[in-house]
């Protein structure tokens, strides 16, 4: 009789099944619909139309602008926080981190509903500044996703590097720019990846703060609502390609350079 033993490879089986069923297969379905027309014939028309239709390009630009602004603000807000947290004494560190991550435990629609009321009091009428409100709410929503990876990267940062910088006569700004910032690039990149794509597609936030202009997510939704699976799918596929390029780009170019320098 064989002894019942598991080797480590088998532990990957559940995830592998999950991956195939819920990640790979839906992706194939999306690609299939994206590159066929309504009759099921292979076609690149949807793909071409996306880039030639002024309105969809407008949506892409609008989503990109929102995503870039949101990501930039998140980064600017999160970096000092993560830095202070990472440098603080051990006991305080985790308690404070909890304070920043705690909001994530509450459903984001609830949080935004509350924020909406506050903004209404401040602004009088939310509909006057749809873009600003969208950015405020998204930043509020995504900030923890930026803090976490930055915090992790900065905690792991070797203190002796910073000390060495100081010992060699660098001022704090110099150390920050030449030592800390470059060493935390992996954290910045994973933070940006976690914020950027959701900011391009999370149309629930726009709906909730009364921004009636479509972003990529709402555009996909509107195509699906009119039973146009093909055009909806191609947009999803294009978004996927964008984020794919982005990942490859950061991996190869930025991280690659880092390695060279070290």
């Amino acid at each position: 009789m064989n002894k019942v033993t598991f080797d480590r490879k088998q532990l990957a089986v559940p995830y592998f099944i999950y991956l195939v069923l819920f990640v790979v297969m839906p992706l194939l379905v999306v690609l299939y619909y994206g590159f066929t027309d309504a009759e099921g014939h292979l076609s690149c028309r949807n793909f071409a139309e996306f880039f030639t239709n002024g309105k969809t390009m407008g949506t892409l630009v609008y989503s990109l602008v929102i995503a870039v602004v949101v990501t930039a603000i998140c980064l600017l807000l999160a970096y000092p926080v993560a830095y202070i947290l990472a440098k603080g004494s051990y006991a305080r560190k985790h308690a404070f981190l909890m304070v920043f991550v705690l909001p994530m435990w509450i459903n984001f629609t609830l949080r935004i509903t509350a924020l909406k009321e506050i903004l209404t009091v401040l602004e009088g009428n939310l509909a006057y500044h749809p873009f600003m409100n969208t950015v405020i709410c998204m930043v509020y929503d995504f900030l923890p996703f930026m803090i976490m990876p930055l915090f992790n990267a900065l905690t792991k940062l070797d203190k002796s590097m910073i000390e060495a910088g100081h010992d060699l006569g660098a001022t704090f700004p110099q150390v920050l720019l030449k030592v800390i910032l470059p060493l935390s690039v992996p954290g910045i990149i994973s933070g940006v990846t976690m914020v950027f794509l959701p900011a391009m597609t999370n149309y629930v936030v726009l709906d909730m703060v009364y921004n009636s202009t479509y972003i990529m997510g709402s555009l996909i939704g509107s195509y699906f609502n009119s039973y146009d699976w093909n055009n909806g799918s191609i947009i999803s596929a294009i978004l996927l390609m964008l984020i794919g390029f982005f990942t490859v780009f950061t991996d190869k170019v930025i991280l690659g350079k880092e390695e060279e320098r070290i």
Binding site: N2, V4, F6, D7, Q10, V13, P14, I17, L21, G54, K55, T56, M57, G58, T59, V61, Y62, T120, N125, L126, A127, Y128, D207, M208, Y210, N211, S212, T213, Y214, S218, L219, S222, F224, N225, S226, Y227, D228
Partner: protein
């Protein structure tokens, strides 16, 4: 080596078992005596029971109505008692017509569903629906509460609608109906302003009005604004075929109309507070906006809520014309699948919902207006009086005397019979929303189910309205 393979296979099989249990969440076929009926209805669109004792509706003739259990459970009980067959209702809900349609095309199986008129027509056109049996339409046969109790007005509307030569009433039985109009705050908006669709592009209410985030509702309002001069012309209104011509105009989908509507909607987008799917009701009650485009049933809900908070909102069905909408029960071919027992249970479900006391329970619970007028039973009209009739000592009252068309044929006699004395403001509030006077239904049109080409055109134009326009932003055009 073999041991490994077997173990891997076992894990794999277990996983797929768990997963298939998750995936195959369709409607199960009952193998035993019990009939399983899969019903898919709008969210919060049926009496779910659990009323408080003091919510009991006590009508003038001594009948008292209370929803203790949910109507679905009551149906199961009633069906077993009446026909001696146990039935199990698998009840699920949908959020939009498109969602329902998508669910069904993806493969969900339902026996009975409750889409809106245009979706019913779309499903009819695509051959998805099962016709009601001939016996269902006989008002004299026992148990045919729908056929017996449905309002003559609704019966008439149903019989006039057809698609591809098939009459709508062959495939659908009504459930709730109403108009499309404007809920407004009378302190901020005048009655005159609210009685025209162009309030949506009225600069005096910049960023204080909401419009529905639905292609069809927005399109209808914009088309009415576009053809304002034509459809409010005195001669046009007096013409013999006024209603027919109005329906034709407000259902136009030619490229010029679509373009004109698009331009109006772009103006509306710059002017309104938001395109809303569900937030309009709350925003109206909290005072964030002063007017919003709304279906009559939701309007009643909004008005009730505002009343609880201590202030008054009104409802208007604009003068240019309003969209007459209704939701109806349809049987799905795939679900019924020639199973006579299922068909019987499905028809009985519709009939059960059409019993006057159950129609009243639904109306109380969800605020929409049932298509049931009750035939000889006075229950529905009594419920109307119970809700709206003025107290004896009340001073400012009006005679609300133009709803005979709903309960009987439209005649002076019927109007007199169904006259009710109500507080003055009900002439433009809940009662007006629930049971619009004849003048409103005269200018109401059903919005047709457009053909694919028109739908394409309209959807594309809708995307244009909603997308960020680079050219316009950088002032390259217009």
């Amino acid at each position: 080596m073999r041991g490994h393979l077997i173990k891997t296979a076992v894990i794999f099989m277990l996983m797929s078992l768990v997963l298939s249990a998750l995936v195959l969440n369709g409607c199960k076929r009952a193998g035993s005596d019990t009939v399983t009926l899969c019903v898919c209805n709008w969210e919060e669109y049926i009496d779910e029971g659990g009323w408080d004792e003091d919510e009991t509706i006590e009508l003038s003739d001594g009948t008292s109505i209370i929803g203790e259990g949910s109507l679905v459970e009551d149906f199961e009980e009633w069906y077993l008692e009446t026909y001696g067959i146990p039935v199990k209702v698998e009840y699920s809900t949908f959020g939009t017509n498109e969602e329902l349609y998508n669910q069904i095309t993806i493969g969900d199986v339902y026996d009975l569903a409750c889409p809106s008129e245009y979706m019913i027509m779309k499903m009819m056109r695509e051959g998805m629906l099962e016709p009601y049996s001939d016996g269902f339409h006989d008002p004299k046969a026992p148990g045919n509460y729908y056929s017996y109790g449905v309002s003559p007005y609704i019966r008439n509307v149903f019989s006039r609608l057809s698609i591809d030569g098939e009459r709508l009433d062959k495939y659908a039985a009504g459930y709730m109906w109403g108009t499309l109009g404007i809920v407004y705050n009378p302190e901020e908006v005048t009655d005159e302003e609210a009685s025209h669709w162009n309030i949506l592009i009225n600069r005096d209410h910049y960023r204080r009005v909401t419009i529905k985030d639905s292609v069809r509702d927005a399109y209808f309002a914009a088309a009415a604004i576009n053809y304002y001069d034509e459809i409010t012309d005195e001669d046009f209104i007096r013409s013999a075929d006024y209603h027919k011509r109005l329906a034709e105009i407000l259902n136009r989908t030619d490229p010029d109309t679509v373009q004109a509507v698009e331009d109006i909607l772009i103006r509306a987008k710059d002017n309104v507070y938001s395109f809303e799917t569900d937030s309009g009701k709350a925003d109206m009650v909290t005072g964030k906006v002063v007017a919003n485009e709304q279906w009559s049933g939701d309007a009643v809900y909004t008005l009730d809520q505002a009343e609880e908070d201590g202030y008054e909102l009104c409802y208007s069905a604009p003068a240019e014309g309003t969209n007459l909408w209704f939701d109806g029960w349809v049987m799905l071919k795939k679900g019924i699948n020639r199973d006579e027992r299922k068909r019987h249970a499905a028809e009985a479900f519709v009939n059960f919902m059409s019993m006057p006391e159950n129609a009243v329970r639904n109306m109380y619970y969800i605020g929409y207006t049932s298509v049931i007028s009750g035939g000889e039973s006075p229950l529905v009209f009594d419920y109307l009086k119970y809700n709206y009739e003025a107290e004896d000592e009340e001073e400012d009252t009006i005679e609300y005397d133009n709803i005979g068309y709903f309960f009987e044929e439209d005649s002076d006699e019927a109007n007199e019979k169904y006259t009710v004395t109500v507080p003055e403001d009900q002439g433009r509030r809940q009662l007006y929303a629930q049971y619009p006077p004849k003048s409103v239904v005269d200018r109401s049109v059903v919005m047709a189910c457009f053909d694919d080409e028109s739908n394409d055109r309209i959807n594309r134009s809708w995307t244009n309205v909603r997308c960020f326009d680079l050219g316009r932003f950088f002032n390259l055009r217009r």
